[in-house]
Symmetry: C2
Subunit: 333 residues, 2 copies
DNA sequence: TATTCCCGTGAAAGCGCTTTCTCTTAATAT
DNA sequence: ATATTAAGAGAAAGCGCTTTCACGGGAATA
């Protein structure tokens, strides 16, 4: 790979001049600028970004730690982040923490040694305290999809309680009174918040909360299946289920299909997140829309803003939205 | 951020010694090693990887250009690649080309300026010639999910023809004789190959190829819907459809559902790729499994092998596999 | 014509590492 | 005891850029 020296030699100017044309510095004569451009072109010159970063102490890249690089949740998020960063000449370095504390730390360490200009954290395993300490040391860390009071202005998160409320309220409005809830793991704040929303809606409607109707499940894969099975094995009646996420709702779909039943017939189900595949399901799933792309966009813009020294960034709370499709209906009888 | 100098000062040794303990060089006395470690710890030292890269001319990172960071196809692939690289102390820098030639070039340029140790290309827009030229200049480029004869030993690809054959053969074995095919865009080699597989199976069974039964669609989103609609509007009979990918198959699901029909009742449908959500569909989709994760793993290992100078890497062709689920059944009547 | 100013330019230092080369000291062989 | 070797450590150069500073020469001002 050609270096700046080769370019400057070929163009018959100093390295400083080459550097100036690269960086759009206007204190270069037209004639020299052209010579340099020609030389660059001829050599297929690509500046070495390591050298640049070392000299400027800026890497023009931001790092992100997500749970996994695959999956319907993080993908769209990274996608929207990358889009806006790219537009501003920044780049995204993606690493995954696999929801494991050690791996999350490891990823952060890596990004630090990469001297990224900012870090976006979408982590589960790491505790609040560690997060707080980190953010205090480094003003360019942002926390996505999680709310830590002490870090209020570095958090971009969803109003999960509202979502839980909307889902439950929807069923209540349809006429349901016996409504079950399959939550995500309650160690996660968002799961607790969603559950709280469920309780709020119940409360508002004067329906008593019944612990028998609540079961805790996992967000992933067949975690939904198992939890749904557990609910159905309990000897309680219900005509609607609000789920901690779409996967869990799919678990309910599955259980129902075992009896050749379909959601919305005897039992209505409401998901949460509106993953892109929810609309491929039959019946199409009623769910709570999580504006993931928007979260990504906002995060990226926040990073950008923060970098340009406008140190006025503030945390953002996003609003979920009820999407009514076909898996919910008035109760029969 | 602390520098090596601060560490060496604090430890009372030279920078060279600090560097040595960092890199596991054994020519350091135990006592000094401990001093250095302690100093590093105390300062929370993280080596600046730019400086390291500049000095060693190695970045310990590999770049990948995919179509999009989101979506069910690239996600799992990147995931598996990252996993194996991570294990070897390498890291993944992910960029997306959005299936647009300029953006693909741009991404590659970026990765080059980042001096990644290797580049993984999963590109659609770029032509073979450009690819070939690139690979000739840079021995550390690999091409995924695409076969270019001139680049045979740098390609990791699927035997698409076999997949098309298997899908079609499956329907034939079930007793179908009137089998339609909705292909992906035929500008793509893989779509052509899959179609060829379809023809081979037909041919083998002595069924005549009928152009009326073949329609070209798009891989994305509702591309499947439109193509399916077109097929159904033609005045031809068929009892089975093999699709260019799962999305297209979903399009068929949709069309059928408009008439309150379900796949496998009157018309069997076979997908291609086995995206993770295919099993969330009802009826569960019969499809061709594309070993995406495996492709990622192999690619990553190939990169690693190539970097350790074992210049014996060879291209790999992966085999697809028929997954029979519920969307295919013997023809009625 | 003499003085000031500004613009374009190059020399050189510095960014934070690695690595070669040299030197010192201790261990081993004679 | 001396001669040889090996091990551990530091000085310094170099990686490819950016940026400060100083300089020279024409344009502008007096």
């Amino acid at each position: 790979m050609a270096t700046i020296k080769e370019v400057s030699d070929l163009a018959g100017v100093s390295q400083a001049t080459v550097s100036r044309v690269m960086n759009g510095n206007n204190k270069v004569s037209e004639i020299n600028r052209e010579r340099v451009m020609a030389a660059m072109d001829k050599l297929g010159y690509q500046p070495n970004s390591f050298a640049q970063a070392l000299a400027t102490n800026r890497s023009y890249s931001v790092g992100i730690v997500v749970g996994t690089l695959s999956g319907p949740f993080y993908g769209p998020m990274m996608h929207s982040i990358e889009s806006v960063l790219r537009n501003e000449g920044q780049h995204l370095i993606a690493t995954s923490g696999h929801d494991d504390l050690e791996q999350e730390r490891d990823a952060i360490r890596f990004l630090n040694s990469r001297r990224v200009d900012a870090i976006l954290l979408v982590v589960q395993a790491m505790g609040d305290d560690e997060l707080i300490e980190m953010c205090q040391r480094n003003p360019n860390i942002f926390v996505l999809n999680r709310y830590v009071p002490e870090l209020a202005n570095r958090c971009i998160y969803l109003n999960n309680e509202l979502g839980g409320y909307l889902a439950t309220k929807h069923l209540i409005d349809l006429g349901h009174t016996k409504i079950a809830s399959i939550t995500g793991p309650l160690v996660h704040l968002d799961a607790r918040e969603r559950l709280q929303g469920y309780r709020n809606a119940l409360n508002e409607a004067g329906i008593e909360y019944d612990a028998q109707l609540v079961v805790e499940g996992l967000y992933q894969e067949d975690g939904g299946n198992k939890a749904a099975a557990k609910l159905f094995q309990r000897d309680v009646e219900f005509t609607g289920v609000v789920c901690g996420n779409d996967n869990i709702a799919i678990g309910v779909y599955d259980i129902l299909s075992l009896d050749n039943e379909s959601p919305a017939e005897r039992i209505s189900v409401v998901g949460y997140d509106d993953m892109f595949y929810s609309r491929y399901l039959r019946p199409k799933m009623t769910t709570i829309r999580f504006p993931i792309e928007e979260m990504g966009t906002i995060a990226a813009n926040m990073v950008l803003q923060n970098l340009s020294n406008v140190d006025l960034v503030k945390g953002v709370q996003l609003e979920p939205q009820l999407i009514v499709r076909e898996s919910s209906a008035p109760p029969v009888g």
